[in-house]
Symmetry: C2
């Protein structure tokens, strides 16, 4: 109720406010005895400096903003964990904002953040976003921005991503080697460079195996979520010849599983599925899902580290600071080659047949 601030401490100790402040900040021109006295009382009264006053004066908020499309998703929640970890180590605070894949929300948030509320921003852009002028808004104000995973290629800013082209290539290659020849590619907004690169990997692998590229097999999830759940199902009914699915995001892999259940398709016998995913339970699924797993936690840590390099130096950073981490292909039963073993598919078929 009654705040304990520098004035209070100063009165109690018969010192000036300035001296108390400098003692707490461990400045050189304060004697050790005084420092001890001040700290003792500060501790006793549970003094905590007023963050807003301090931020206002220093023009430094000790806070970063994190803007992501969603949080109920293992990739982003792990990324947050990494970000929080690095922030805490630097004595920084983390503000979180969800764009819900909505460009307008993303824009509104960026506007808010342009007023000195944060010292830096980590952004993973919404799938809807096509205009990136809001990034300049922060730039003009001298607030460094680091993009991660869902990046925008056009701007000269640091980006932390994974090897999406290679991952897309390896995923498709894996399906091809398992015998698939009609491989669907389920993806999100193709305006995202991340989607484009995965797609390019997909195409390159097809070409390598002399499998013709079929536009009909590439389906893009629209921003409006409702139909996306049934997206794999409609595709699978339209094209019963599909024998492999490469899902560029976790949710599409899951709805592919559901679609196969509903349509009575057996995984991996009828359709093999591989998907980008950070699901901890991938190995417990029926059947266990082959995944491309991004190092989400490390991405978060890396992105935050790059940002802090900029924040402490108090200057903007360029694309030169960008990093690319490697994703991991984890082979499980959902892409098991049906020619290898005959026993296993039967069991799986039975398990799924109910």
């Amino acid at each position: 109720m009654k705040p304990v601030n520098l004035k209070k401490l100063a009165q109690e100790l018969n010192l000036s406010i300035a001296t108390v402040s400098r003692a707490l900040n461990d400045r050189y021109d304060i004697s050790q005895p005084t420092k001890d006295r001040v700290r003792a009382l500060a501790n006793k009264l549970n003094y905590e400096p007023n963050h807003h006053a301090s931020s206002l004066r220093r023009n430094k908020s000790k806070t970063i903003g994190v803007v992501i499309p969603e949080v109920d998703n293992h990739f982003f929640s792990l990324a947050i964990k990494g970000i929080e970890e690095v922030a805490r180590r630097n004595n920084y605070h983390v503000l979180i904002y969800l764009s819900h894949e909505d460009y307008q929300r993303e824009l509104a948030v960026m506007r808010l953040l342009a007023s000195g509320r944060v010292d830096g921003v980590l952004l993973s852009v919404a799938s809807e976003s096509q205009d990136f002028a809001h990034l300049d808004l922060l730039r003009e104000r001298g607030i460094p921005v680091v993009l991660f995973d869902r990046v925008y290629a056009g701007k000269d800013m640091p980006k932390v991503t994974t090897d999406d082209y290679e991952s897309g290539y390896r995923a498709t290659q894996h399906l091809l080697e398992a015998g698939c020849r009609v491989i669907a590619h389920l993806t999100i907004a193709h305006t995202l460079s991340i989607s484009q690169r995965r797609m390019q990997g997909y195409q390159a692998a097809l070409q390598q195996f002399r499998v013709p590229y079929d536009e009909e097999l590439v389906v893009c999830e629209a921003a409006g979520k409702p139909q996306s759940a049934s997206l794999p199902q409609t595709l699978l009914t339209q094209r019963p010849d599909i024998d492999g699915i490469f899902a560029a995001v976790e949710s599409l892999a899951m709805s592919s599983y559901e679609a196969c259940h509903n349509l009575g398709l057996r995984i991996p016998k009828d359709v093999k599925i591989i998907g980008f995913s950070n699901l901890k339970t991938a190995s417990l699924l029926a059947p266990p899902l082959t995944t491309i797993t991004q190092p989400a936690y490390e991405i978060g840590k890396e992105a935050a580290s790059v940002l802090f390099q900029a924040v402490v130096k108090n200057r903007l950073v360029s694309a030169a600071q960008s990093k690319e981490l490697k994703s991991e292909l984890i082979v499980r039963a959902s892409t098991a080659s049906t020619t290898l073993s005959s026993k296993e598919p039967v069991a799986l078929a039975l398990a799924l047949g109910r």
Copy 2:
């Protein structure tokens, strides 16, 4: 680089700083033409008020703090989603802190938050926490705190929880009705009221079915994580007579699955498993997991709503504002009664047998 603040706007418009401020805040004593002029320029120059100056002056930060044990967990990430939603609607910002189940971290965070950085706090306590004096710290400063899910019963503060006793009862009852007689209960820190209530429900159901309570069957996950993964496995080897597992948290349900895999135990034939969980993929597991699912998103929304009632009224709230939401029992194959069908367990056994 060059900030656009009230002074700048005032100079440009030949007005005083006070007038510009009042115009932007839509005060009654500013003429409409002036308001229009001010707003036009503010818009043109992308003016955003300095949050720290404003917070300092108004003694209101328009920010709440959220302190949770972890984020890579569907329950908490969904809760955050709900919290962010309500916060955004009230034009509030959300600071996030992870305690990592560590009391010291939780304490440190609460200390930081006691300095007027936030207008309110949402807390789900770490499993390690036994001392709750840090809650008083905020209370003394007049900062309202709302506990959710992992609450502490001892304090007179609002709590948003689920019907943990009933859920524990129903979960155990469900296993008993499915034929289980030796039911293990895997839980976390028993200092948490949430664990105690689930446990009480467990005991009550046992009593109702005249099954003796066996202390050995109740295992509590320690704070140090490493051994918790193998916790179900050691229990299942020590007590091969176990025919049912009730996991009070998602992670323990998952490690129970893994333990059964490793030990060659068939679910649900040898062991039936039910667990608290918000896994979206519960129905895709092998076998699909019967869950007690908490309305995590709603809990987040509700907790935030209660907090905002306190924040806008600028006063502390009491336990009277507490809410209890209902969890849902979702029956799936992991607790299927083995006497019902003979075909299904065979398939599942085969599927798991590899």
